[in-house]
Amino acid sequence: MKLHQLVLAASAALLSLGLAAAPQVGAPAPDFSVVDSKGANHKLSDFAGKNVVLEWTNHDCPFVKKHYQGNMQALQAEMQAQDVVWLSVISSAPGKQGHVSGTEADALTASRSALPTAVVFDESGTVGQAYDARTTPHMYVIDKAGVLQYMGGIDSIPSAKVDDIAKATPHFANAAKAVLSGEKPDPAITKPYGCSVKY
């Protein structure tokens, strides 16, 4: 009888362990503290009053490469012009694909003419798991009040082909524009696609 209860208790404990945190559109975005490629510290709360874009990235991922043929840079330029903070987040663990040093990250930014506000590191995966980031790329839009407004894919066609960008519905760009004009994105949640984040 006791065994029965123990088994129940153990399975309940396993269940609660198995559940990761889940971000929620319309709720405050999880705060975080990260170091960028230049060694500077950033907290989400530092950017209160500004719209923030989080882009999970891994430069070796073919899906990331697809969008860095120009699409991502164009989006970054557009957001920069609107005073949006753009953080490229690297959650690759040390030794895994996409893990880079600060210098390498800066070199990548320069060679790709990328325009993020900062490239930040999340080697432990804490931030990635707090946001339930699954793929690279994986996009998030947080409004001036710190509320998560969009999470999901960069666009609607899950492929690694550059040609598909023009054919796809640009979910992320639409959502970012909606947030900039004070509206609720629709859809606010889409399917992220790409390589898995290398936690």
């Binding site: 009888m1 690694a160 949640i189």
Partner: protein
């Protein structure tokens, strides 16, 4: 790269036009080939095409729902007019864990089958099949790739099977889940994917795969419960869930087979599909019986039972010479135990069939029964202390058993053992026995029989296995000292029941019961003197009078007024309110989180849980932080509403802890709480998306 393409082009040129295969195409970490089931086809025919993937070792491709990341393989066909192709027939996928993510896919070689239909009036002499396949192949890193595969099939008057590939097709068909004609519904309310499937026969399902993407949280644990032929499934919703088709495919996996079932979305207002944490899992009957037997064995160690039975055991050891009589005694004793348990079960089943809302533990819900048990335990204690000698051969030690009173005595010793054990069964095994009672009547009777056999087992072993009796120490004068020591666990058990009685009936009634206890003491003392001196009838009448007074006193006790009870509640209600179905309903409809605790004063587990996990500062802080209303239901006395509520959660006893979070299915907490259970569960629930 160019040279590779050139080589490939050369290869495809070299392959004869009527081959059933496109030839192997080599991409990074994967080889692909398109094959036809027939090397010559005929008009009006339906046949299968196979896309054969052979990735490098440790690399995998993806299922139609690739899970948290990954990408399903997609096929795009170019076919002549009059020829059509069906969707991919997906083999049974595997769960590929990439913590913290979970993917569904295929490690190793995979064959994706598609049906090809040729119109009856197809006139051309051959069919040109062009396939563009897009896939993602991953080990830890992922390589997206595509290939153009082409195949030309000659059309003749008769079809010719591609014999070389017959085995491959045969094997591929075996990898497909079998279609199960079963009625299945699913629901996405309350933050979870829930499904019920009416199976044609019971199947031991080990895992399930939902084909719709972004529906379930793939990495979260799956709850799979079988109730008869009805399968209940639950898994939390995906963070990226944003809607689902009205009909979805579900793949059910058993140890050696897999089945495909179509689920339709349950309509609005459909009953909440309630799957609690493993409570409904059907254990095998033999396992339940084994556990019941073990529980019965443990009963022998309970403080109310051990003193009585250990002496009986020692007396058997003392009489190892008279084996035949011992064996007869042990059998009668076992019969007494088993019959008493069966009688209890029948009583319980009968009361429930008559519509009475009773559960296990009912024997402690009636104050008068509790009072009688106090008297019994106290009198047995006095007997061990040497104040009085009882019959039944129970208290005899040493050679006294030589004057055994035969089978009747042993039989009633068994009955007595069950009676003194009954207060102990409720707190320690209440919920498990309640579960048994909730099953069908034959199962319930079997479980109680197993419980009785488990309890009688030590005596059967002592009597029938000579080795066991030899292990016991030799009888001697020390046994009398032990006997006197063993009186104290009985006195303490009586004190515990006195406290329960006091909680039930109030302090005035408790005082009356204590007077009754004094009467019992006096009666035992008088009777003991009579046994020694063989005095006359006057003493016997006095004893009888005292016992009648003792029996009458608890019945005379004034009922505690309702005001009293609520006043008591109010003062103690620092952080909880009394449970009522209406209060709970109202709080839930207002969208407030609620914790329900069903408890009883005689439930030791409940009291321990409250002490270590619920009444702590950290739990109080967690309740305040999440603005949780804490409702407590008290089942110490019979309460039909609470019994009804317990039954809603397939329980028949306390404790029961249920957490209601707005927009989530009710969470049943484990029966044994740790100090962190509550705060952790609340933290987790508050993070889940609301639907």
């Amino acid at each position: 790269m160019r040279s590779v393409i050139f080589l490939l082009l050369c290869c495809s040129v070299l392959i004869p036009a009527h081959a059933a295969s496109s030839g192997w195409q080599t991409a990074k970490h994967l080889q692909a080939e398109l094959i036809s089931e027939y090397r010559q086809v005929s008009a009006g025919q339906q046949l299968q095409l196979a896309l054969h993937f052979v990735p490098d070792e440790h690399w995998h491709t993806y299922w139609q729902n690739p899970g948290d990341s990954g990408l399903a393989t997609s096929l795009s066909w170019q076919l002549p007019d009059g020829v059509t192709v069906g969707d991919i027939q997906w083999p049974v996928p595997q769960a590929i864990a990439v913590p913290p993510l979970m993917n569904y896919g295929f490690a190793g070689a995979t064959v994706l089958l598609s049906d090809l239909n040729i119109a009856p009036d197809y006139a051309a002499s051959s069919i040109d099949i062009q396939l563009q396949a897009d896939w993602l192949v991953c080990e830890e890193v992922c390589i997206p790739a595509e290939a153009q595969l082409s195949l030309t099939l000659p059309v003749g008057s008769s079809a010719v099977v591609a014999a070389d590939y017959a085995a491959l097709f045969q094997q591929a068909r075996q990898q497909l889940p079998q279609t199960l004609q079963a009625n299945g519904r699913f629901d996405t309310s309350g933050g979870a994917f829930s499904a019920t499937v009416d199976l044609p026969q019971p199947l031991q399902i080990e895992a399930f795969f939902v084909a719709a993407p972004e529906l379930v949280d793939h990495a979260a644990s799956q709850q799979i419960n079988l109730q008869g032929n009805q399968l209940l499934l639950q898994q939390p919703l995906n963070t990226y869930f944003s809607g689902v088709a009205p009909q979805i495919e579900l793949v059910l996996v058993t140890a050696d087979a897999a089945y495909s079932v179509q689920l339709t979305q349950a309509g609005q207002g459909a009953a909440e599909i309630l799957v609690t944490q493993g409570q409904q899992r059907d254990s095998a009957l033999w396992l339940i019986l084994l556990m019941a037997g073990a529980g019965g064995l443990i009963l022998n160690l309970m403080p109310c039972v051990f003193p009585v039975l250990s002496l009986k055991a020692l007396s058997i050891a003392a009489n190892s010479a008279q084996q035949a009589q011992q064996q007869r005694d042990a059998l009668f004793y076992s019969a007494g135990v088993v019959l008493s348990f069966v009688l209890l079960a029948l009583l319980l089943i009968g009361l429930r069939a008559a519509g009475e809302a009773v559960g296990w533990g009912f024997q402690l819900q009636n104050p008068y029964l509790v009072a009688l048990l106090v008297y019994l335990l106290f009198a047995l204690g006095l007997s061990l202390s040497g104040v009085v000698q009882f019959g039944l051969g129970l208290m005899n030690t040493g050679g006294a058993l030589a004057t055994a009173k035969g089978g009747k005595g042993s039989f009633f010793t068994g009955v007595l053992a069950v009676v003194v054990a009954s207060p102990c069964t409720a707190p320690f095994m209440g919920s498990a026995l309640g579960y048994a009672v909730g099953q069908s009547a034959p199962v319930a009777l079997l479980v109680f029989t197993a419980l009785g056999l488990g309890m009688a087992l030590p005596f059967l072993l002592l009597a029938f296995v000579p080795g066991f009796a030899k292990v016991l120490p030799k009888p001697g004068a020390w046994m009398d000292t032990l006997k006197q020591w063993l009186a104290y666990p009985l006195y303490l058990s009586a004190v515990w029941l006195l406290w329960v009685f006091g909680r039930q009936a109030g302090v005035d009634a408790q005082a009356l019961l204590l007077i009754g206890v004094v009467c019992v003491a006096a009666a035992c003392w008088l009777w003991g003197r009579r046994q020694l001196t063989q005095q006359g009838a006057a003493t016997a009448i006095a004893v009888l009078l005292l016992l009648i007074i003792a029996l009458a006193l608890p019945a005379l006790a004034p009922k505690p007024t309702v005001d009293n009870a609520t006043a008591q509640t109010q003062t103690a209600a620092a952080h909880w309110q009394s449970w009522s179905a209406a209060t709970l309903q109202q709080l839930r409809s207002e969208g407030k989180p609620v914790l329900v605790n069903m408890t009883a004063d005689w439930c030791i587990t409940c009291l321990v849980n409250e002490r270590v996990a619920l009444n702590t500062d950290s739990s109080k802080a967690a309740l305040a932080l999440y603005d949780v209303t804490y409702l407590k239901g008290d089942w110490t006395l019979r309460d039909a509403a609470i019994t009804e509520y317990l039954r809603l959660y397939q329980r028949d006893g306390v404790p029961l802890y249920v957490l209601y979070w707005p927009g989530q299915p009710p969470q049943v907490l484990p029966q044994i709480l740790t100090p962190d259970t509550l705060s952790q569960t609340l933290a987790r629930l508050s993070r889940q998306p609301q639907s």
